[in-house]
Symmetry: C2
Amino acid sequence: MGQGLRAAIDFLLYEWLRVQALTTRARYADHSRETFDAVLDTCERIAREKYAPFNRLVDTEEPRFDGEKVILPAATHEAWKAYAESGMLSAAQDYDVGGMQLPYTIEAAGNAFFAAASVSIGAGMLTVGNANLLMAHGTPAQRRAFALPELAGRFSGTMCLSEPQAGSSLSDITTRAVPDGDGYEADPLGPRYRLRGNKMWISAGEHELTDNIVHLVLAKIPGPDGRLPPGVKGISLFIVPKRLVDAEGRLTGQRNDVALAGLNHKCGWRGTTNTLLNFGEGRYPVTGAAFGSGLDGRGAGAIGYRVGAPGEGLRYMFHMMNEARIGVGMAATMLGMAGYRASLDYARTRTQGRPIGPAGKDPAQPPVPIIQHADVKRMLLAQKAYCEGALALQLYCARLVDEQRTGDTAAADEARLLLEVLTPIAKSWPSEWCLEANSLAIQVHGGYGYTRDFPVEQYWRDNRLNMIHEGTHGIQALDLLGRKVLMEQGRGLALLGARIAATVAQAREEPALAAHAQALADAWDAVLAATRAAWADGDPTAALANAVPYMQAFGHTVIAWMWLDVARVAARGDGPAHRGRLQACRYFFHYELPRIEPWLRVVRTRDLTCAEMPDEAF
Amino acid sequence: MGQGLRAAIDFLLYEWLRVQALTTRARYADHSRETFDAVLDTCERIAREKYAPFNRLVDTEEPRFDGEKVILPAATHEAWKAYAESGMLSAAQDYDVGGMQLPYTIEAAGNAFFAAASVSIGAGMLTVGNANLLMAHGTPAQRRAFALPELAGRFSGTMCLSEPQAGSSLSDITTRAVPDGDGYEADPLGPRYRLRGNKMWISAGEHELTDNIVHLVLAKIPGPDGRLPPGVKGISLFIVPKRLVDAEGRLTGQRNDVALAGLNHKCGWRGTTNTLLNFGEGRYPVTGAAFGSGLDGRGAGAIGYRVGAPGEGLRYMFHMMNEARIGVGMAATMLGMAGYRASLDYARTRTQGRPIGPAGKDPAQPPVPIIQHADVKRMLLAQKAYCEGALALQLYCARLVDEQRTGDTAAADEARLLLEVLTPIAKSWPSEWCLEANSLAIQVHGGYGYTRDFPVEQYWRDNRLNMIHEGTHGIQALDLLGRKVLMEQGRGLALLGARIAATVAQAREEPALAAHAQALADAWDAVLAATRAAWADGDPTAALANAVPYMQAFGHTVIAWMWLDVARVAARGDGPAHRGRLQACRYFFHYELPRIEPWLRVVRTRDLTCAEMPDEAF
């Protein structure tokens, strides 16, 4: 049918977002539609050859620890190698550090193929995010010693935020970083500290895929009284390599005191090791002697190099965190797309039953492909609407990143602020609704979908992680309603409203879309009214009691906007693919957007039914 | 807190349904609240000792076939033994066949504990359903040889409907049953046939838990031209034992030609073997010689004894199927309850973060149990509302079964008809919403919930089966809107409406419930209006295009009714448990019932967005 994932991406990139126009900008002047296509071709091919065939394998052969090393399947090593050799790790970097200066939108689209093929076999996303953070906030030496080897695929990266006792509550972390001797500030790799603490849920925290692992670790520097500063303002950021390096990033042969304390055994997403790491427990003691004159061996612990200023750690980490959140949204979207395509193929080939017709079912007629049954079509169209709608949002956000990087001052600032507002949606909405899509993909398969002989049950298990990691649904909702819609006096919300209004105005001109345009305008008004009502008296307890339903309604409205804007373009073309987009848009407006009213109602009325439930009454 | 599963069941049984009143009926005259409690105590104890400790074990040690036998963990054998010895297999049977003449409501409540403890370790439900079918439709010899050994726990039972090529479309089954020689009608165990065919998705289809397995098999008897009759009217029902028996149910030593062709490897529910069975493939050939004078060895195939009249097989099977559907609903409900209780325990003991307050979060304060966070309360209250609401419906349906069995003619007929209408809801609603509850239970646990160190991810995987087996969601929806609400000129729908109206009238008297009463009355009117609009011109294509959204709205309305009726009783008491019920009711009316409007809207408008989507546009 020619409407696989690639066709969906091509349409969104070139017909809808018109990313080829980016090539008029100086940074991308060497690029063209042809170079973009070549990148996508390469990603599609590697994903097909090195990722997809091993997706079930990495589910059944979980990472295991032999006491010394974490063992991963050979296929995982091959996949990493192919990915690193493709150049995708440094695709968006400057030419002078070996990058391709590719627009972020194309990088994101290329990475989508890997997520669809095997979401958990790769660890590229965190490595690139880690390197990007260091390129933005590290010293030239830190970039050279850590970020460049990551971008070359020699090192990989992690983000170490959570601790077993603290979870999402970062103000409560207790990992401690103390200056490593009197000369601690003189280390060429940055102010040198000794870290002690435990970090939980660290993806790719231990493995042998790369020569080294660059942990970016949040920790607190004790005050003069030896106590850790309270709150998130006391958090600093440190580079803690698994193996110590010299100023050029060469391994010194000395292991740092970062020890694997346990592997988490997960419901899905099993291709990626997920670890509990102990920093400075003494399993790999590092004495001062190995490090030259500035070191005196005091303060046992893992060696860490501070990034930037003390107390600014969380702000720097959000550089990486926001990328990771959008990455999670894309992963969720691609798992949804993979299930959609699998169930579509199944529905086209599996024959069973006969359509309901005025004449009733005639058992003398042969069975039909199940795609002819109305309820199967409903389940497929819902998946298409969820997943292609989510994909549009992901690519729209990626395009905003490019605007932030290469637009003029006003456009870049607008893009930055829109991204602030849209990030919680880009992360949460696909996590919830592309998971629902995966459940529908199972349902289309019937009993077969519940067996491990078909891929869809794994997509569903893998996708369940996405509402949890990199900030749970609840955290995203507090971020949206408690912070993002208020920031800069609501300017981000107003900017989003202006963009929605622009789509509404254009869609009103299309007779087939005018009713949808009105529905979207009404929905946005309802979201704004609920936002105002929630904060009517400024009491955050009442305002935020229904933050998740608010986020659900906000998200459905944003995806309705995406679909209307996509349909506006599709309405100008013809052919089955455009017909399908118009139908998915109609599905979203008829079946999905009306769901926002029950969600907004509890926000608007500041319903405290849940908040007031006494513990003992459960 | 004293509000575990047992407390929830006790309240519903004795304070809400007042099942102790059943003891005034002749059949239950020997019973009392004390005998009921003793049964529940026993079930709770066995479930705690023999089921719950092994729930993870049966997930990791899947059934495997060694070429001859299916190997199950020793714990599964122990669980079956304890269950059989408890007498629960024959709890509801007459005294004269060894039963307890227990009300079905108490039997169902007792079985709930096993489902909550380990849903997949047991195979009791199908065995009882199988025996009940034979007690109702079998000959005295068939009852003696097959049903009584099942009720005693010596044999177990299956239902064999689906075939690999036919799935839900039973009219397309091709399993063939031919009379076994001239004397086929003279066999003491019933008219004897030879069966050949393949049956898919057969739970407990092969194992060594019992001396024998009684397969109840749907097959078609070829006509004089050798062709199978088309449609479901050509289906007959056969008893096909794994091992052949004499007229007293004693094993003859001869294996029947039923061969395991494969084990299905499932996403969850792994404690139960699920099989593809080949009937009559010749692996265990049965010649005539072993069977006395009436046999001549013609017609290779598995020996099967016809139940009742030819062509009536599906009607008989629905005796078992309806029980199985309610059993699925109860299993889904109990998986939901298990997750609710686990996440409640976790939320009460896990400390993290601080409540949002007007003063803002103060990091100098210690972290609080996460149950104090509004969004965690929301996720717990949603689970309570889903699962205890579903439990109320399950027990209400069970009470209707007792009415059907022991009420006067009019009451029994009314109960039968109400059960017809409510069965698709009792099966589908918990399958969908108690699965959602399990997802919330994972979310309450954060990352820990996604690991296999906590039970909730398994509940979620186990529960995903329930929307598929014993009739998919789509099949239930067609049954509801295409058949049940229309049957007997809509009399079932009217009866349900009258019961809802009675609850509404009573609840209006309670000031705290009056608004909910009005909301329920409005919701029911909306369901009726949508039903009429769907069938406005009698065209089933348009009427049934949105059967699933219709069923979702119908289900939410039924559960709202359950909650209002429960709240009516809770409002007369006090204490935290009653407070919790009133709050869960309020949650359901504020957060859930308003969802019906978007579902009903597409039914009422006979929206064909999905039905008209062309295949090539996906």
